[in-house]
Symmetry: C2
Subunit: 199 residues, 2 copies
């Protein structure tokens, strides 16, 4: 592995386990067995390293969801697997990581979010189009509107204060995402949703 890549990989691991703030350049040097000087030759400061780590994580994530979509036998299966994959990843990452990201690197956070925004040609639009081709989503839906609205739903999930206290993620999915997808689905789609819901 190239030194640059080795540093990024190791730093990502440290971030995932400890959040971003607590991880020092000294610690990174120690863990990679490299001198701080060598690291600073490649990354001018911690911020540059953080940004490269975030970009790497993001690229990896996009590759993973694309692989899930390619391997799934239909888009409903893919959507369920995205959900499970997301939950698993979230459970593996120290929540300090997300807190630090929002508090200390709001600009990075906004840039990453922007990249995942809806719109023609986006990954989520492609999923909807694939679903229509597979006869799962209704032909007459406006893909861009549904896509934008799905983005609103995802944003809503982070604003838990509008929902009753102690509501579970599962209960939100059952009352928000599942009904909406049922509503844009054909009979074939609705049957698949029921199948996956009962698993």
């Amino acid at each position: 592995m190239e030194p640059r890549q080795r540093i990024t990989q190791k730093t990502i691991e440290l971030f995932i386990h400890n959040g971003i703030r607590q991880v020092t350049m000294d610690q990174i040097a120690e863990e990679t067995g490299m001198s701080k000087r060598t690291i600073y030759e490649m990354f001018k400061d911690k911020d540059s390293l953080v940004w490269e780590c975030l970009e790497t994580m993001n690229r990896k994530h996009m590759q993973e969801v694309q692989d899930i979509l390619a391997d799934a036998s239909n888009v409903i299966e893919a959507l369920y697997k995205f959900g499970l994959h997301g939950e698993k990843k979230k459970s593996e990452i120290n929540r300090l990581f997300f807190e630090d990201l929002r508090k200390l690197y709001p600009h990075f956070w906004e840039t990453l979010k922007k990249g995942a925004q809806p719109g023609s040609g986006s990954f989520s639009c492609r999923i909807l189009e694939k679903g229509i081709e597979e006869g799962i989503f209704l032909k007459d839906i406006n893909v861009e509107v549904v896509d934008a609205f799905f983005y609103v739903i995802m944003e809503t999930f982070h604003k838990k204060d509008i929902f009753p206290q102690n509501i579970t993620h599962q209960e939100l999915i059952r009352n928000i995402i599942v009904p909406y997808f049922r509503g844009i689905s054909t009979e074939k789609g609705k049957k698949l949703i029921e199948e996956y819901e009962n698993r």
Copy 2:
């Protein structure tokens, strides 16, 4: 009509036609045929008068939607009538009214919005519960979650920048509200939605 009520009624008319900012106390005096002094005896300033007008409009609106619900033969009919009623009212009010409200009286605007917020016992929760009783909405929905989410949908409709440009209100309803309601409805409910959609 009591003088206080006469002032409020006339001022509401003026606000509806001209927005709030442009309407002066002189104009109100002229239109009501009362002296400014008399008006100031009842309302210490324009802000107090604005607030009383907003409260009156709000009370009237709540009475109207309650009447619609009472007269409707089922909740789906009521929901469609709410939509039509809202559209009609909006078309009758000068859009300066809403702009002035947001810009000049953000505190009033927030208070009014707060009163319409979701939660157990709210008007919208009662509609959902009535729908369940009527066999129109699925028994196993979590009324509070659906209610809160419906509030999110309504908020979303005002943030048109996230949707494709020039999208019509109709197209948003067809792709967002209708599918979601279909998704929380029983077979009976879905049939009713189809019936009203085809009208």
